[in-house]
Subunit: 230 residues, 2 copies
């Protein structure tokens, strides 16, 4: 089968920078090991060619499902990369996405996947294929700005979480410490968290209050010129 066009066309791919928060509070990126040339054996972002009549977001979700088994995750476009030399096979434009997953659900799955997918700590990534190192750096920068302005951090945590978990998440992503009292004051005043009738269990210290993020409340506040801004 062949497909013919009047003018040359670049290939179009999608690539995903998937972030997950380790139980030890280290931000991880999901990579897959390439089988085929170019860059056989090297690590790369999960992704692949956009199919005929397939949307970009749809393609990103499909590739993630196929290559890592992950479905139903937060996924948003980063930007397109189109330097003509970025792929040695020929002119290829890739649309990069960044995604956030709750590692409490997916931790085992990806590690044992047949396609050799693995989580790597953000600050100790291996050499990456193509221009994927640039894409990862851009994704980290975007994650850092976005997490300060929109409540996407919750995507990295389980549905029920403690304020300390949330604080550590912000400290990890932004690589800077927060004052415990000020952090709690700020977040509770935003009035987008709901205290559950539940506490931590089986911890060797005072059990912490569990909270959940209230999307509906956030959307209300959203209207009335309110800003998240951590």
């Amino acid at each position: 089968m062949a497909y013919t066009y009047d003018y040359p066309r670049p290939a179009v791919t999608v690539d995903c920078v998937v972030f997950g928060l380790d139980p030890t509070d280290c931000l991880q990126v999901l990579l897959i090991q390439r089988w085929l040339d170019p860059f056989a054996g090297q690590w790369a972002l999960p992704g692949g060619f956009v199919r005929h009549q397939e949307g970009l977001v749809q393609a990103a979700h499909r590739e993630l499902r196929e290559e890592t088994g992950i479905a139903d995750l937060f996924l948003e476009q980063l930007q397109a990369y189109g330097q003509p030399q970025r792929d040695p096979r020929g002119h290829t434009v890739t649309v990069a996405f960044y995604a956030l997953v709750n590692l409490w659900n997916y931790q085992v799955r990806a590690a044992t996947d047949a396609k050799q997918a693995r989580w790597w700590p953000m600050d100790r990534l291996p050499a990456l294929a193509f221009d994927h190192d640039v894409i990862v750096q851009d994704a980290i920068a975007t994650l850092r700005t976005t997490i300060r302005h929109r409540p996407i951090g919750f995507e990295l945590l389980p549905a029920k979480f403690t304020l300390t978990q949330l604080q550590r998440l912000y400290e990890t992503v932004l690589a800077r410490p927060f004052d415990k009292r000020n952090f709690r004051k700020k977040l509770l005043k935003l009035d987008i968290l709901v205290a559950l009738d539940e506490k931590e269990t089986n911890v060797a210290h005072r059990a912490a209050q569990l909270y959940r993020f209230d999307q509906a409340k956030y959307l209300e506040r959203q209207q009335t010129e309110f800003n998240f801004d951590l």
Copy 2:
């Protein structure tokens, strides 16, 4: 001539949302009228197909030069749009850019261009071809956030400008009033503007001090955790 591939490929285009500031302080968008189907006769964003081995930014600049005569302008990627139905001719992915020009230079040029390019006031755009209305709305949203965090507003003004012009620019883009004294205080304290040895001339009122934006100073400040944030 024909080009053949093993798998179908979407076409790849670029589209540019070019903003200019009218002398009457109205934000304008540059549109071109289409000659050919689909959407013949309708207004659309300047743009077109990415050529073989051509970078995305390069393609955007080329199309702008060809279709509107504008060169050397601020241009940054917005995002890619790839809904399969967005182009009736077939699966087409477009990478959208937004651009800023100083209308004091380009005002006449675009209006008299052979390809029927025209500036339209942002709030009274005609119906647009493809999904270009969505792209324009996204570009406006991005412009509004970006102009508050990075000093890109100066791209819309002549090299020498008054503080009142700058204030009106922000008021126009953000569609909200600023207090004159507070605005000046804030901007001058940032220390990225340089007062010139020059004043306005031929105005029927007290002549205003002219300033220019000092890119070098901005880059210095940039390092030392300083934020623009208007």
